[in-house]
């Protein structure tokens, strides 16, 4: 199971953080939101997600969460990098796109 988790965790984390940021965006633009207007909460959440991915990637790359089988080690590494890049790629709009229009 550990092998399976190592393969699937980084992207699952991507999915969770991506959905969370989307949900947060929905909340910030809804009539329920009474706090200050602005994109800073979104940027903070995106950076947090990126940091978590970075940590996970480091764990796998430095073999602190080791995978003995070489092919699968490489595969989990690829997937961790993919999740890291994917987090940056998909959450990039928080910085550039108009947020509640």
């Amino acid at each position: 199971m550990s092998t399976i988790l190592r393969l699937s965790l980084p992207l699952t984390l991507w999915l969770a953080s991506f959905s969370a940021v989307y949900g947060l965006h929905g909340l910030l633009c809804s009539s329920r939101w009474t706090g200050p207007d602005g994109r800073w909460p979104l940027i903070a959440a995106a950076l947090l997600a990126l940091a978590l991915q970075g940590a996970l990637l480091a764990l796998i790359a430095t073999r602190r969460w080791p995978e003995p089988e070489p092919t699968l080690h490489r595969t989990s590494l690829i997937l961790a990098v993919a999740a890291f890049v994917g987090t940056g790629w998909t959450l990039m709009p928080v910085a550039f796109v108009s947020h509640c229009l």
């Binding site: 595969t75 998909t90 709009p93």
Partner: protein, 818 residues
């Protein structure tokens, strides 16, 4: 014992009952795989006939062939049948047939569940066919948007057929997915570590987990919509705090992954067939596995790209546009790994390869138009036009049907044990592929010229006539091609000559057996130490037939196979399978009565048939395991292993774990829906929130604690604790419901009812499980043979406790916040 005597002995043990009786009592994966595939092909034909009706209607402007009432049913049923009754079941059938053979084992993890899923599919599918023939089929489009599909837009029974019939069919998808997951993780040939698994198994594993997490949102949505239609619980009615967009989110959270659930098995087949056709091995195995996993997970973050025109703010769309472009990357990795494989090998042009070329030519176009509609502004124009119809058929036919035709021609010698002799297949190819492009290529342009999808007729003078005429004529050419394929298959199945085993000189284990396969697959189980065992050892089939592998001695006279360690593939236990039984077909018939009662609104039938299902399930579980432990047994090749039912994690435990994954996703979707309504729906907050109060909260806490503790106590004390826990949770539930007495008043009240119902249901399930363990104790089962069952019960009671807490928090929180 020589090979022939071994074959006879094993056949006696494994064979299905002879004649028609065998169809209803067989639990054998080869039989059920063939039955699944046959029924799926039948539904493809029905869906294809509907497609021809559509093309006939649209061939000329102002067609009077069908009125809109009929046309709407026809296109809705075409889409519904193709997606739910053809594509997914076809994958299930292929996986059911192939997986144990590829993995070097004798059957799937839960043979009776295979049969149960199959019959649910047949009965649910029959409901849909009945609706179609009776002219009362669903008519709101395959994604069934409310309010159009709810009582406002569709007061008749049509939508109920969809909501109830498809949910019934979904049971088969979930069962197959649980089974496929457990089989791939645990039921492999000894020595087959994860990294040595055939690539198809990786794809099937990924697909199965996607079904477990992708289908629950749809099942939830269908239940909510049916509750709205039947009892007025207003989840999607804006005036009472619901929101039409909630359905769209739930549907597409399923609907987008669905497309990849369809494509990934096809990609698995391509990754298997293409290297053999090129006489080499797959380039970049590790990369391809990574691509499959990323495609699977990424596809769960794309759903809003079906909702680009619903008025979501641009940043929200941007997230999903970005994710939708990103998903093209793992697709590209696979495509180029395949092309690289072809470069590396010496590709021929046998029929399977021809179909793979058709796949490339078509799917690449579909992928490119997919990237186009991922660009938000372009989708604002293309959405809901024939551009989308064309795109989706390029992807579905190019990405699923063509690879499946490759698979059909590749594995046909295995299915029927004969050489393909008649050459109708080539003619069919040249009808289908040009016919397909003739049908759909120009329809992209029709869409840009303003032709909306789902219109039942159109006027002349928009530049659409010639395009539609070409499309219809080509559509019929394609249909003739499919008819030829069918004839070809039938002829090849009944006539022609015995072929050689392994006609393609492939390396995977399904060719290490005589064809057509025997009921037991392998006379003895191989020890695998390479990804292509047949390349490593050409003599392997003979040695297996001679009984040189594991479990080659049928002396114990029962159906046995092995389980292995997930990562390393080291052998772990001996599994004893159940024999032929009619229980699955009976249980799915009773399940059908449950759904039928809801459909025709004879609600007295519902509790009765629910009790019937529970009764069947108890009979089912009761027959497992034995009173006295057997201890370790000889497994051949010097291995001595315990029996699976006597270890702490029996197959049922793993099955429960993955079923709980689906169940948890269901709960997650429900909580998502609740949060969504709370933030987005216009008519919120409701007139009043329920406030459980300290007494009810204390009851829930106590109830959850008792349930969880019960799972850890001895059998009898455990039941007592779980019973007390259920009573406590039930009392708390009554207190809450008393505060929101009318579930039809507001979407909030309706949601509270569903949450409470879900929590109570799980309490009852946990209670029944523990009662079963206690009953085993009374019946004299030893502590060793009870251990696995007790652990399964504990899994469910822990989940029930968690659900009670979560539901209580979700019900109480808004009142606290307000």
């Amino acid at each position: 014992m020589n090979a022939l005597r071994r074959h006879r002995a094993l056949t006696r043990i494994w064979a299905s009952a002879p004649g028609w009786k065998g169809w209803f009592t067989s639990v054998n994966h080869t039989d059920l795989g063939r039955m699944f595939l046959t029924v799926a092909v039948f539904f493809f034909l029905v869906g294809g006939i509907l497609a021809m009706l559509i093309r006939a209607q649209l061939a000329t402007p102002r067609s009077a062939f069908m009125g809109p009432e009929t046309y709407n049913q026809v296109f809705t049923m075409h889409g519904t049948i193709m997606m739910f009754l053809f594509a997914i079941p076809f994958f299930e059938g292929l996986a059911v047939y192939l997986l144990p053979k590829l993995l070097g084992t004798r059957d799937l993890a839960f043979p009776r569940l295979t049969a149960y899923g199959f019959w649910c599919y047949v009965f649910g599918g029959s409901m849909m066919i009945f609706a179609l023939l009776a002219g009362i089929a669903p008519d709101s489009g395959w994604f069934m948007y409310p309010p159009l599909s709810s009582t406002i837009g569709a007061p008749g029974i049509n939508s109920d057929f969809w909501l109830i019939g498809i949910t019934f069919v979904e049971i088969s998808a979930i069962s197959a997915a649980v089974e496929i997951t457990v089989t791939i993780l645990r039921y492999r040939a000894p020595g087959m570590s994860l990294a040595k698994m055939p690539i198809f198994a990786w794809y099937a594993l990924v697909t199965a987990v996607m079904i477990l997490t992708g289908f629950p949102p749809l099942i939830l949505g269908s239940i909510l919509l049916e509750l709205e239609r039947a009892f007025g619980m207003p989840f999607f009615q804006v005036a009472q705090g619901g929101d039409a967009l909630l359905w769209q989110h739930l549907f597409w959270m399923f609907g987008h992954p669905e497309v990849y659930i369809i494509f990934l098995p096809a990609a698995g087949a391509i990754s298997t067939i293409l290297p053999v056709m090129a006489r080499t091995t797959l380039m970049g195995y590790g990369w391809v596995v990574a691509a499959a996993v990323s495609l699977a997970v990424l596809s769960f973050g794309l759903w809003v790209h079906h909702m680009f025109t619903t008025g979501i703010p641009h940043m929200g769309l941007a997230f999903f546009s970005a994710a939708s472009t990103l998903v093209a990357v793992p697709t590209a990795v696979q495509i180029f790994a395949w092309i690289g494989t072809l470069w590396r090998g010496r590709p021929g042009l046998h029929l399977p390869m021809m179909w793979l070329l058709a796949f490339f030519a078509t799917f690449v176009i579909g992928g490119l138009t997919g990237v186009m509609v991922a660009v938000v502004p372009f989708d604002w124009q293309a959405h809901d036009t024939y551009f989308i119809v064309a795109h989706l058929h390029y992807v579905l036919i190019g990405g699923f049907v063509f690879p499946m035709l490759a698979a059909l021609y590749y594995w046909m010698p295995h299915f029927v044990g004969r050489k393909t002799y008649f050459k109708l297949g080539g003619v069919a190819f040249w009808l289908i592929v040009p016919g397909f492009h003739g049908t759909f290529l120009l329809l992209h342009w029709a869409g840009l010229l303003g032709m909306r999808r789902r219109i039942d007729s159109y006027g002349p003078g928009q530049g659409w006539e010639i395009i539609n005429l070409i499309a219809s004529v080509s559509g019929f050419v394609m249909a003739i091609g499919f008819a030829l394929v069918l004839i070809d298959v039938i002829i090849n199945a009944v006539t022609a000559i015995r072929g050689s085993r392994d006609p393609w000189r492939a390396g995977t284990l399904e060719w290490a057996m005589p064809t057509p396969p025997a009921a037991y697959n392998f006379a003895s189980l191989p020890h695998v130490d390479s990804r292509d065992p047949l390349y490593a050892d050409r003599e392997l089939p003979v040695r297996l037939a001679r009984g040189e592998g594991y479990l080659g001695d049928p002396a114990r006279g029962r159906r046995e196979t092995l389980t292995v360690d997930i990562a390393t593939g080291a052998p772990r236990t001996i599994v004893v399978f159940p024999g032929n039984t009619a229980l699955p077909v009976l249980m799915s018939a009773v399940t059908g009565l449950f759904f039928l009662g809801m459909l025709v609104k004879d609600y007295w039938l519902v509790p009765i048939s629910a009790l019937g299902v529970i009764g069947c399930a108890l009979a089912w579980v009761w027959s497992l395991g034995r009173r006295a432990p057997e201890g370790p047994l000889d497994a051949g090749r010097g291995a001595v292993l315990p029996v699976a039912s006597e270890v702490a994690d029996p197959p049922g435990w793993w099955g429960s774990l993955f079923l709980l994954l689906a169940d948890g996703t269901f709960l997650g979707s429900l909580l998502f829906g609740y949060a969504f309504l709370w933030t987005i729906a216009p008519n919120w907050p409701p007139p009043a929130y329920a406030e459980p109060g300290p007494a009810a909260l204390a009851l829930v806490l106590a109830g959850a604690a008792l349930t969880a503790v019960g799972g850890r106590l001895g059998a009898l004390a455990g039941v007592a604790a779980a019973l007390a826990g259920t009573v406590a949770v039930g009392l708390a539930a009554l207190a809450v419901l008393a505060q929101v007495p009318d579930p039809a008043a507001h979407a909030y009240d309706a949601t509270v009812w569903v949450l409470v119902g879900y929590a109570l249901l799980h309490q009852v399930v946990a209670l029944i499980m523990m009662a079963l363990v206690a009953a085993r104790r009374w019946a004299g089962h030893s502590a060793v043979t009870r251990r696995g069952a007790a652990r399964v019960a504990r899994l469910w009671s822990d989940y029930a406790a968690l659900v009670a807490l979560l539901a209580a928090a979700a019900v109480g929180l808004p009142g606290v916040l307000a």
